[in-house]
Amino acid sequence: MRKILIATHSTLASGALNSATFLIGNQSDISIIDAYVDETDYTQKIDQFFEYYNTEDEYVIFTDLFGGSVNQKIFTYKNNFEFFLITGFNLPILLEIILYNQSLTKEAVKQLVENCRKELQVVEVDSFESIAEDEESFL
């Protein structure tokens, strides 16, 4: 079982989950933390995420900013738990992690991150190769 937590400053987390669900449906166990939307202590929700920690499960946490307080806080949980922490996440990496159908290794996660890093790009008309695909190569 893969357990995913998206934790961000304000509502990016719930928004990212909504977009992912719209695109690919409910496929994983995904929790969210929209931090600082009210006075409540969001760190309790991190504790809840790890409450039934099971070494047979895979844990992946997405945060929005490398230097941000949410990422700093979650980083401290590395003292007690094994999990992948991906920061500065974009929608492509979130989808790739949800859809990845083998067990997640450190190498696999790094490779997925490298692939999805390329999705951040300036889109220009001449950034495309020849678009004329012929029927021979299609078949």
């Binding site: 719209f22 695109l23 690919i24 449906g25 409910n26 496929q27 989808l95 859809l99 889109v123 008309v125 495309f128 678009i131 695909e133 029927e135 190569s137 299609f138 078949l139």
Partner: protein
């Protein structure tokens, strides 16, 4: 085999690229659309949506039919996307034995025809008079499996049942 003939008013887009090739076990998509066939910028934007491991062909309705005269094309597993039911009907009429199922996913939301003049089935199918006529004739043939399934995660629902519900 055409694993699925999908009617989607956005042609290839995120939902399709991310989930359908895997769910259907295909790595080829034909976008059959006369307007896209003539519009280089639209072709580029469609190609943008295609994942790297999937091949795509953009063709007019007529050229799609000629493409399937090739025996190799007839045996290849693929998916076709059109953006309206009238085009889907043309393909079904001409390639009846090749199409496993027709999926009416999203229809008629961006064609410029006022919503008041349309019949809606659920939230993503809006039928103009022409589209309704094409759908009715599609449903007349009991051999053609016509469903509504936006993403693989949703269950496939028979179009006939959805129409009954109104």
């Amino acid at each position: 085999m055409i694993k699925e003939l999908r009617v989607d008013d956005r042609l290839i887009h995120g939902q399709i690229a991310l989930t359908w090739p895997k769910a259907l076990g295909v790595n080829r998509i034909i976008v059959t659309n006369d307007a896209a066939n003539d519009d280089k910028t639209q072709q580029m934007s469609l190609k943008m949506a295609v994942p790297t491991n999937v091949k795509a062909l953009i063709r007019s309705v007529e050229d799609t039919l000629s493409f399937f005269e090739n025996p190799k094309a007839q045996t290849a597993d693929l998916m076709i996307i059109v953006n309206n039911i009238v085009d889907a009907k043309k393909l079904v009429d001409n390639l009846p034995t090749l199409i496993e199922r027709v999926n009416i996913a999203n229809v008629g939301r961006f064609d410029g025809i006022p919503t008041d003049d349309k019949i809606s089935i659920g939230s993503s199918i809006l039928l103009s008079v022409n589209e309704k006529r094409a759908l009715d004739s599609l449903l007349e043939d009991p051999k053609i499996d016509v469903v509504h399934q936006i993403i693989p995660d949703n269950s496939a629902r028979k179009l006939k049942d959805l129409i009954k519900k109104g």
